[in-house]
């Protein structure tokens, strides 16, 4: 059974600081997604990582995937308040074609 672990589950940052969210998963998969969710809202797709070594960047967020280590990271550079949200990673269950989500990281960026 595929298990997905995110850490930290809660992250309080000051504006301008850098930090990394980690997503580990337990079985082989070659596709991973990062989503953002604002309070009371639905999920917004941020990144699709399709292969080992994949790196995607959008603004202050950069995501990477290491399939050998079964690890993805979401790096935040010079955080701003608008990045405050919950971030989920989701891993494709090979053979089942469904997603297993991590528990999410609640990010709070304060001045």
């Amino acid at each position: 059974e595929l298990k997905v672990e995110q850490n930290p589950l809660f992250l309080s940052m000051q504006e301008g600081k850098n930090y990394t969210i980690y997503c580990n998963y337990s079985t082989t998969s070659d596709r991973l997604y990062w989503y953002r969710q604002d309070p009371g809202k639905s999920l917004e797709s941020l990144f699709v990582l399709l292969s080992n070594g994949a790196v995607k960047q959008e603004g202050r967020l950069m995501a990477s995937l290491d399939t050998k280590a079964r690890l993805s990271t979401l790096h935040i550079t010079a955080a701003v308040h608008d990045l405050s949200a919950t971030y989920f990673c989701a891993v494709v269950n090979s053979g089942y074609s469904t997603l297993t989500f991590g528990k999410g990281t609640m990010l709070l960026v304060s001045p």
């Binding site: 809202k41 699709v48 469904t98 528990k103």
Partner: protein, 113 residues
């Protein structure tokens, strides 16, 4: 714009009173998913349709049913809602199975009184 639409956005039902949530899509995707998301938790997949093929998750309670009358529409029926069924229900679609990107609707917030 192509999109995933959910109705209603907010639904209040009484304990034990059947309720139906609706999802429609203009993306012409083959796969439609229903997730349940409780407060401060990750979305949990209830079931999905690949075309007309229904796939139930092993731990989805029998109280939850789904129908997909055509490509565009999918319904979630809760036969006898309990207080523990209060949650956000998210519909998502993908072009195919096999890990294709899922596109989420805005969700329906269900309250059970």
């Amino acid at each position: 714009d192509a999109m995933v639409i959910q109705n209603p956005r907010y639904q209040v039902t009484q304990f034990g009173k059947p309720v139906t949530l609706s999802c429609s899509q203009t993306l012409n995707h083959n796969v439609m998913y229903w997730y349940q998301q409780k407060s401060s938790q990750a979305p949990k997949l209830l079931f999905h349709y690949y075309d007309k093929d229904f796939n139930n998750e092993a731990d989805t309670p029998d109280n939850f049913q789904s129908r997909r009358p055509n490509t565009s529409f999918c319904f979630l029926d809760i036969r006898s809602p309990g207080l523990g069924d209060a949650a956000m229900y998210l519909c998502a679609t993908s072009l195919q199975r096999g890990g294709y990107e899922q596109y989420f609707g805005p969700g329906t917030r269900l309250t059970v009184t």
